[in-house]
């Protein structure tokens, strides 16, 4: 039974992705495009050369973190739709520190990254607190917090960080994650050291959840609050901690954008979608740190590769969104695939 589960846990996503691509191919055929060309363009767009690989990794980096942000909250039974806003405030804070202070890199960079995490954590704290103390549903608060983050950050960019400009100056190089060396390797892609931070964050989450008493408590609270209370855990505290850590992850994602990809923050006329994609990433990754990394990579590859499909094969990018959506459906429906597999195995015997 359990060994089966482990096996399935590996096989099923693969099958799902395959089925998704298959469906995508059919759609391409139906709408008169050549799937082979389409997918080879997708491949080129994602892995074609050093540059695209660099960009793919770059695009994956924040998705890992927002994925973790959603997954972590889910582990303690909370639904964090607020990653979007947490990303923005994290981005803002990181850039702010990157601009405001002068310090050697060993201090400046960690400080800026930390600032991002803290800001995100703060943004997670509010819904966490309201949930823990008043039982207000976190979904709705996090949605509201998203908008508040968006407008406040725009205002701060305009009237605090700049004199009414569209974007801030570039952050001090002592706070930058960008790496000449990596960029050199990848024909000036925007790949930056952030991906190490993202991987590290994933390890942290795995460790917290699987190996520490903190994770033990968080999961217990997620599964059964009564039993948690009975066993002497502080349910409210755990809910808040969970949201704060989740927010912290999302804040880091923002810091990646601010300190790595862009090196600044610009007025946003809408959301980044990093947070919303994070929901899909988390759940595709079965809310487990390792799974999240893989799911984020899948997203990064598909989205990065998508760029090549219009120029490379004349396939509109919207079609790629459709394909991604289908893949998600198939992964989500893994139950039926598992069922089919079991069926199949029974026949086999």
């Amino acid at each position: 039974m359990t060994s089966n589960n482990k096996l399935f846990a590996l096989i099923i996503p693969v099958i799902s992705v395959f089925l998704g691509l298959l469906a995508g191919a059919i759609i391409m055929l139906l709408s008169g495009y050549n799937p082979i060309e389409g997918y080879s363009a997708l491949w080129r767009g994602a892995f074609g050369d050093a540059f695209t690989i660099g960009e793919t990794i770059r695009r994956t980096t924040p998705l890992i973190l927002t994925g973790l942000a959603v997954a972590f909250a889910f582990r303690s039974g909370l639904f964090n739709i607020g990653a979007e806003g947490q990303v923005i405030v994290g981005w803002l804070a990181a850039v702010w520190v990157g601009l405001a202070i002068e310090a050697p890199m060993i201090i400046h960079l960690p400080l800026a990254v930390l600032a991002g995490a803290l800001a995100g954590g703060l943004w997670g704290f509010v819904p966490g607190l309201l949930k823990a103390k008043l039982g207000v549903h976190e979904v709705i608060i996090t949605i509201m917090m998203n908008y508040i983050a968006l407008y406040i950050s725009n205002e701060i960019i305009r009237s605090v960080l700049t004199d009414h400009a569209t974007k801030t100056d570039q952050i001090a190089s002592s706070a930058s994650l960008a790496s000449e060396w990596l960029q050199g390797l990848t024909y000036y892609s925007r790949i930056h050291y952030g991906f190490l931070i993202a991987i590290f964050a994933a390890v942290i989450m795995w460790f917290l959840i699987q190996r520490t008493t903190i994770g033990y408590e968080l999961k217990a609270v997620g599964f059964n609050q009564h039993a948690s209370k009975y066993s002497g855990m502080n349910v409210s505290k755990n809910i808040i901690i969970s949201m704060v850590i989740a927010g912290g992850f999302a804040g880091l994602a923002g810091a990646m954008e601010g300190l790595g990809t862009y090196g600044n923050i610009h007025l946003m006329s809408g959301f980044t979608n990093l947070g919303f994609d994070g929901i899909a990433v988390a759940l595709l990754g079965a809310n487990n740190a390792f799974g999240v990394v893989l799911a984020a990579l899948l997203f990064g590859v598909l989205k990065e590769g998508a760029g090549e499909m219009p120029t490379g094969a004349g396939v509109p990018t919207e079609l790629v969104d459709i394909i991604i959506a289908l893949i998600i459906f198939f992964v989500a429906s893994s139950y039926i695939i598992r069922w089919a597999l079991l069926r199949f195995k029974k026949e086999g015997k």
Binding site: F79, Y151, G270, A280, L319, V320, F329, A332
Partner: protein
């Protein structure tokens, strides 16, 4: 004061109507135990269909077009929602993932087809709905001018549907069964109620209402369809569902509250005593107000017990 109301109320009404409709969809779906964050996508579908239909038939069908258009949008929305139903009811998919996929799929399909059919990223403008006076009612002194003069009939369609939804959920056998499925599917099952059937109906209903919401939004506010026609309204509707504690009238109240807050934040800038305030505060006011309302007045809201839990026979 009266004329302040007179300037706010109509705005509230047109802003809230799409949210009310979509939120009602959310209520049906979640009351039956199927989480639906696909509302955004369902609205996109509705907006797309509503606009395309109107564009195609405006000349031939004349002023009836938008009405027919929203009905068609509702139907297509229902059909589109069956994807969510199949995934999350039949395949026991994780309902949140399925919802996310719905959102992506709707946008992809909508924009893709727009490009295929019109060769551009957004459609042309349509006339859509116009404000009218509600017959008889607008003659009522005081109330009349404020509530029934120069309003979109669709706003009242939304409000009436909310009342109907309440009646269905709380007065009819179907409603009782639907809620029982969302609270304790196994109990419903042992009483010979088909959990699957009920959940399908509920999710499809959410598609119908989401389609209505989206098309009403497009035909009363935006007048065309593009990738940025629906941006976050679906999530606001979801917020309204929870704000309203999964109750049709509650959801309506919440949607109206959002509309009121929004419109205040805009009218605010022309209210003398608010003039000094920096715009950012007015911008975030609606969202802060909502949080305060929830923290202060509304408080704890408990979702239907089985919400989000796939029902698999014979497992506890």
């Amino acid at each position: 004061m009266i004329d302040l109301l007179q300037s706010i109320i109509p705005t509230v009404l047109f802003f809230s109507a799409p949210l009310i409709l979509t939120a009602l969809g959310g209520v049906f779906s979640e009351r039956s135990g199927v989480v639906n964050i696909g509302l955004e996508g369902l609205m996109v579908m509705g907006a797309f269909v509503g606009i395309v239909f109107t564009l195609t038939f405006e000349d031939t069908l004349g002023s009836a077009t938008p009405w027919i258009a929203i009905v068609v949008a509702a139907v297509i929305g229902g059909i589109f929602a069956t994807i969510h139903a199949v995934a999350s009811v039949s395949f026991n998919a994780n309902q949140v993932v399925s919802g996310v996929a719905i959102n992506m799929l709707a946008l992809g399909v909508g924009v893709y087809l727009t490009k295929q059919w019109y060769g551009k990223g957004q459609t042309d403008m349509v006339d859509g709905f116009f404000r009218t006076d509600i017959p008889y009612l607008h003659k009522i002194p005081v109330i009349g001018p404020i509530f029934f003069e120069r309003v979109y009939a669709t706003s009242y369609v939304a409000i009436i549907l909310a009342v109907i939804a309440w009646y269905v959920l709380y007065k009819t056998a179907f409603g009782l069964r639907l809620r029982s499925v969302g609270e304790h599917p196994m109990a419903a099952d042992t009483n010979g109620i088909s959990v699957t059937k009920i959940r399908y109906i509920a999710v499809i209903l959410s598609g119908v209402l989401g389609g209505l919401g989206g098309s009403v939004f497009a035909l009363t506010i935006v007048s065309n369809f593009s990738h940025s026609t629906i941006v976050g309204q679906g999530f606001m509707a979801l917020a309204a569902v929870i704000f309203g504690k999964w109750h049709p009238l509650g959801a309506m109240g919440a949607a109206l509250f959002f509309g009121f807050a929004q419109s205040l934040s805009i009218v605010g800038s022309s209210i003398p005593l608010l003039e000094g305030i920096p715009q950012v505060f007015l911008l975030i006011a609606p969202y802060v107000l909502t949080i305060l309302a929830l923290a202060g007045v509304i408080g704890r809201a408990d979702a239907p017990k089985a919400n989000g839990v796939p029902y698999i026979k014979g497992s506890r």
